[in-house]
Amino acid sequence: MSDASLDSLLAVLPDMGGYGAYVWPAFAIAALVLIGLLVQSLVSARRNEAEAATLRAERAAASAATEPREAGHGA
Amino acid sequence: MAPKRRRMTIILVALGLLSAATVLALTALEDGVVFFISPTDLAAQTPKPGQRLRLGGLVEEGSIQRGDDAQITFEVTDLETAVPVTYTGILPDLFREGQGVVVEGAMGADGRFAADSVLAKHDENYMPAEVAEALKKSGRWQEGAETPATTGSTE
């Protein structure tokens, strides 16, 4: 973000008794770190769980395909 | 069960030794760990001229004198000893009489501490201005001497 747009953003927010240039960036940094971590964790949980489910379904399908033959052997 | 007990004993003994080593190291390095010394400490150790150090304490009430060009003199006290300080430059917003400060610089030949940086130190009390006023009015306000940290005394 450029200095000018940062200044105009700070101008819109309450000036916090002249400390706005310190207060708002502090909250912004906290929000950035926490939201970033949350999104990254959400995405990797979704992706990994989906991939694990796909792999398990593939294996289940593969073992279902081999099962009848084994059952036939047994009988 | 036995290996678990053994692992636990090893870990606890190792942590105990590590803690002991840390305590010893920090005690030995105490002078390096403290951020500033008090005016009384300074009077006791008579530093070499030009030796850089940090001095912490309260700005003595009524001691602030402003000169030309942002020059300022004031006294830093731990309520036992006061040291005169000279400084030229921008002061932090919290700087005022009765406030905790840490000044960095060296003792001059004239017995004044020539500071090239002044940091304000605030205490651990947080309250709205009205509450502070009410406390002052009711006489329950303890100015300055709340904690050793604000007065800058070491033990």
Partner: protein, 251 residues
Amino acid sequence: MGLKDRNRPAATMHRYANPARFLRLARAVQPWAAVLTIICLGAGLYLGLFASPADYQQGESVRIMYVHVPAAWMALFVYTSMAAASFAALVWKHPLADLFAKAAAPIGAGFTLIALATGSLWGKPMWGAWWVWDSRLTSVLVLFFLYLGHIALTNAFDEPTRGARAAAILALVGFVNVPIIKFSVDWWNTLHQPSSVLRLDGPTIDPSMLWPLLLMGVAFTGYFLCVVILRMRAEIAARRIRALRYSRAAG
């Protein structure tokens, strides 16, 4: 190698038994933690930013406290929980303990980063310096490096269990830093002021400022719970993927 292969089925069973139960519990806890976080965060932010009074000394800059202090609490709390988990991992080989430590470390590092950055933004106008090397600030910087070291060690080995073991030892060794951070402001002269909330003689903060602070503390704790569960779920799934690929390659 032969010994390891023989142990593998048993180890796999052990690894799966607990995570399944954990996942059920996690799915039950997660929505409640999320709701708690959102409510407390909303209330804490409103009170902290707008409805609470300015400080008699620090004016409106005191509002930085409402992110700085809870982040610093969490930085210490998360590390302490990681040290406890690492102890359990080393002594009892609890399968979820390593998983927890690995999931918690990046969150703890995030909280520590927030505490450092917001502290700097608070220090400039109040103290007159972005940074000073006093014992409180320095020991928190060391904590940040411990978190980074933990993350690096966890991922440094081809075999995940070796990385987890090395990281667990680091977490325990680094734990000596936690009491140093907490008591640095009492033991030594620091520029940082002593504790205002967690002290023996009770808080030295006016209730109108203590409430938003505590609400933000609860919100950050709830956030940690939500995100650590998410990260543990992601890691459990990643291990399943590895195990399934391994069995496919082997079979």
